[in-house]
């Protein structure tokens, strides 16, 4: 018999706690496969966020540190400065990265910190029960914007890739999605590129992955994928926002 598919050894055997249809698990898989394919798993240190991915350290089969809410880029900075030969990445949600941790992400980018950031944008605070995030779409109802996010007083989505791409010291910034197979393959390529940048000491890399939250969006897993396509893509255009090697 021929093995056609295997769980990546970049993941542990611990059963994931994510809700059915949540794409956090898929993103974990892509990151794990990337680390194995680049042959850096053994020298990788993951930094887990506070958010639904708080247990990421149980799933990634590498050393890890659990950061305080929003502070993963600072923690990663501490690790990387001590061991520049380690491959250090943060895995952060949109509340973690784009709200409480905005200073840390902007300044890690500003320093050109040679780390990789996996930014999982599901337009909501998943872990705490579906509150409004800075990335929530205008009109999107959440438990703290029950009538839908209002541009007046609650503003409009913070576009992290667009913002960080203006920072001179960044090396690679891309937004991808995993709502269908072609997009998923594209996401994998972007992750590979981002980690490759770090391996080659090129500086700060970030991949924003549009992700689902069926539980707090109140949608079925299939409808959630459709919702990404129909509602998130227009607000969050996919693409490479910065690549110092000139690729797109």
């Amino acid at each position: 018999m021929k093995i056609v598919y295997e769980k990546s050894r970049g993941l542990t055997d611990v059963p994931m706690h994510y809700c059915p249809g949540c794409t956090h698990g898929i993103i974990h898989k892509l990151v794990a496969e990337t680390l194995v394919e680049l042959d850096v798993l053994g020298r990788t240190v993951a930094v887990a966020p506070v958010g639904c991915a708080v247990f990421a350290y149980e799933y990634f089969n590498c050393d890890a540190q659990e950061a305080a809410h929003g502070r993963a880029p600072a923690v990663a900075t501490g690790i990387k400065r001590v061991h520049p030969d380690n491959i250090v990445f943060t895995y952060q949600g949109d509340g973690d990265l784009a709200s409480i941790g905005t200073a840390e992400i902007v300044h890690a980018a500003m320093r050109g910190e040679n780390i990789t950031v996996v930014f999982v944008n599901n337009a909501i605070y998943g872990m705490t029960g579906g509150q409004m995030a800075p990335t929530t779409l205008v009109g999107q109802p959440t438990t703290t914007s029950p009538l839908g996010r209002s541009r007046l007083g609650q503003g409009a989505p913070l576009r992290v890739c667009e913002m960080l791409a203006t920072i001179e010291a960044t090396a690679y910034i891309a937004r991808v999605s995993v709502h269908n197979i072609p997009r998923l393959n594209g996401a994998k390529r972007a992750l590979k590129k981002a980690f490759q940048m770090q391996i080659e000491n090129k500086g700060f890399s970030l991949v924003e992955v549009l992700s689902t939250c069926p539980t707090n969006w109140g949608l079925s897993p299939v409808d959630s994928l459709r919702w990404v396509e129909q509602n998130m893509l227009p607000a969050y255009p996919l693409g490479v926002y910065k690549d110092i090697e000139g690729g797109t």
Partner: protein, 356 residues
């Protein structure tokens, strides 16, 4: 090694490097700026790294990452900056990471002022951040002691896998005194840092995780109890204090850091006035030298607590004396340093004006 005239902040920074500290993360604030300035200049020369963080919040989380990666790491700040670090300090204690923190206290509350104060005693010794934890706190009264305690702080941090704070004030930070650096060797028997996240290639594939999350209450209780066994051990073995002139003292002054220096000159003035006054100087503020009070309480008539605050260590003195003798308090705050004359006057009032 020759004695060297140094400023307090620089002496502390030099001591940290002498003790093998190679990483510093911090954010500028008066009156401790000479520490990051010294580190930014000297760390690259010894193969280390200085990072100017975007805030004290970021700085303490960089410390967390570096400590978790196994390094000897320092941050320093002054009162408002230390307030910002409290969440991170709680995480560091919870994740059982070693690191050294320096607080060169200034006057508060709020933005307060930049003059010396001792009003962060509660914050330093009673937790500061959330949850059940303690920080081991060392309070130097002169620059040689600041050097020695800073070096000791790194050993204690590694020994207990807990943050250790050097708590001084703007006076100590800005003062110049001769100091001597002896060749430093880490304390014997420090545990290996086999928990550090250096990549599983260095651990035979065994995953290391730095973490303070325990969602099951029984697990968290066990974890906290284990941490508190370390604190019990500190309370048994790490208490440090100095008794000066206490043998015949009618009044024992209790003071630490800068105020203990002033108390010492007040004691000399009292001697000339025929007043018998001693000094009990806590060097570790946590663990507090409770048992030291038992050594002097029988012979003394009263205690006088002197602080540059409205009375914070006072609470610990009350616990230590436990009602056996009267306790008076003299405090100046807002950045005002008490004079020895003021302290003499307090002693005279206590002793009913005798010997004036």
């Amino acid at each position: 090694m020759a004695r060297k005239l140094m400023k307090g902040n620089e002496a502390i920074a030099a001591a940290a490097i002498n003790a093998g500290c190679r990483y510093f993360f911090g954010y500028p604030i008066t009156p401790q700026n000479e520490i990051p300035e010294y580190m930014s200049r000297e760390l690259p020369k010894v193969g280390g790294a200085y990072v100017q963080a975007e805030s004290e919040v970021a700085a303490i989380n960089m410390v967390y990452g570096a400590a978790g990666a196994g390094a000897r790491v320092l941050t320093s700040s002054s009162s408002p900056g230390i307030s910002l670090m409290q969440e991170g300090i709680s995480y560091i204690a919870g994740a059982e990471l070693p690191c050294v923190l320096v607080n060169i206290m200034r006057a508060g509350p709020g933005l307060g002022g930049v003059q010396p104060a001792q009003a962060d005693y509660f914050q330093a010794t009673k937790g500061g951040g959330h949850g059940d934890y303690r920080v081991l706190v060392l309070a130097p009264a002169n620059l040689q002691e600041a050097v020695d305690l800073t070096q000791l702080a790194f050993d204690l941090a590694d020994k207990y896998r807990n943050p250790v704070m050097v708590l001084a004030d703007g006076m100590i930070g800005q003062l110049m005194e001769p100091v001597e650096f002896s060749p430093y060797r880490p304390a014997a028997g420090l545990p290996p840092k086999d928990w550090a996240t250096t990549g599983t290639v260095h651990s035979g594939g065994r995953q290391r995780v730095i973490n303070s999350l325990y969602l099951y209450p029984d697990q968290l209780e066990n974890h906290v109890r284990a941490i508190f066994r370390k604190y019990a051990e500190m309370e048994r073995t790490e208490v440090r204090y100095e008794l000066y002139n206490c043998d015949q003292a009618d009044v024992v002054i209790v003071a630490y850091g800068t105020t203990s220096r002033i108390a010492r000159s007040a004691i000399e003035k009292c001697r000339r006035l025929g007043l018998r006054v001693g000094l009990l100087r806590p060097i570790t503020l946590y663990p507090f030298p409770l048992a030291a009070f038992d050594l002097v309480v029988e012979r003394t008539k009263a205690f006088l607590v002197v602080e540059m605050s409205m009375g914070q260590m006072l609470d610990d003195v009350k616990i230590a004396v436990a009602g056996r003798r009267p306790i008076s308090f003299y405090g100046r705050t807002g950045g005002i340093v008490p004079t020895s004359e003021e302290i003499v006057k307090q002693v005279q009032e206590l002793l009913g004006g005798r010997g004036a």
